[in-house]
Subunit: 138 residues, 2 copies
DNA sequence: CTAAACATGGACTTTCTGTGTCTATAATGT
DNA sequence: ACATTATAGACACAGAAAGTCCATGTTTAG
């Protein structure tokens, strides 16, 4: 029930890029400024590229750039790029053990949690995050 | 970002006990009825005992019983009994790496998520879960 | 053309945690 | 005394998360 380091890295990288949304950033710069292992960052960036959140340019002076404006990139996209579909508990889409029980009292609760998390992630864009920056920890 | 099997076991056991809130249940019964490995269940139950959610009686005809009524036991208690304090990300209470950065754009978001999860858990009692049982998956 | 700068993709290693087992001990009712 | 039940902690294991390394391919400045 925690945010993985990987996801945190991804979000950090993206918010970093959001400060100058049209520029190009080399992996090296992001890696150094955000203290993320270079080779590990490479994997993360690939996922973001594949998902269409950023685009990459090869060659000297290449790097990464946002594909959309920070206001158009929400955290649900980022989450799914990194972790895949969000689900609170495995049996929520497979019908494994749970199908053994005629009724499963806790499913609705996990579902409720899941729905509200998705809603929050979906409604939060990178731009929002930058704006909230000063008023840390609500 | 998932509900652990352990927590699910705990909730299952408690809702099972909630159906007959005054009775005593042996680990053996719970283990069999809920398909939870006996020795593993033992560890879970101890946590619930330590937290004061259930009480235990040793000896023949011993077992476990709810300490409060199902309406008075909420899921936040259960969560914390099993997993400890709920926090989305480690730096939310330690001041480790994050203190290096003058500003941390994503913290408010994780915090928002965290607060809303706690709210949902807190407002859901075992009794609620039993009542919702028939209308699965909202 | 060539080398520098960069990205890509996959294999591999390490570390950690969730999950589960085993064994020995203590308490209690009959 | 004996059977039954919980308590406590050590131990084992698998799978995932986190991180490393390397071999390859692309672009472009010079």
């Amino acid at each position: 029930m925690q945010v993985s380091k990987t996801l945190d890295y991804a979000v950090r990288s993206l918010t970093y890029m959001s400060k100058r949304p049209v520029e190009r950033f080399s992996m090296k710069e992001i890696s150094e400024k955000q203290h993320i292992p270079l080779n590990y960052l490479a994997k993360i960036m690939r996922k973001l590229v594949n998902r269409g959140i950023i685009r990459s340019m090869v060659g000297p002076d290449g790097g990464y750039a946002l594909r959309k404006s920070p206001g158009e990139i929400n955290l649900k996209d980022v989450y799914e790029a990194i972790e895949g579909e969000l689900k609170m508990i495995d049996c929520m889409d497979k019908d494994t053990i749970c199908s053994l029980y005629e009724n499963c009292p806790q499913l609705p609760v996990w579902d409720k949690l899941q729905v509200s998390m998705i809603k929050i992630l979906e409604s939060t864009t990178l731009e929002d995050m930058l704006n909230r920056e000063k008023s840390n920890v609500a």
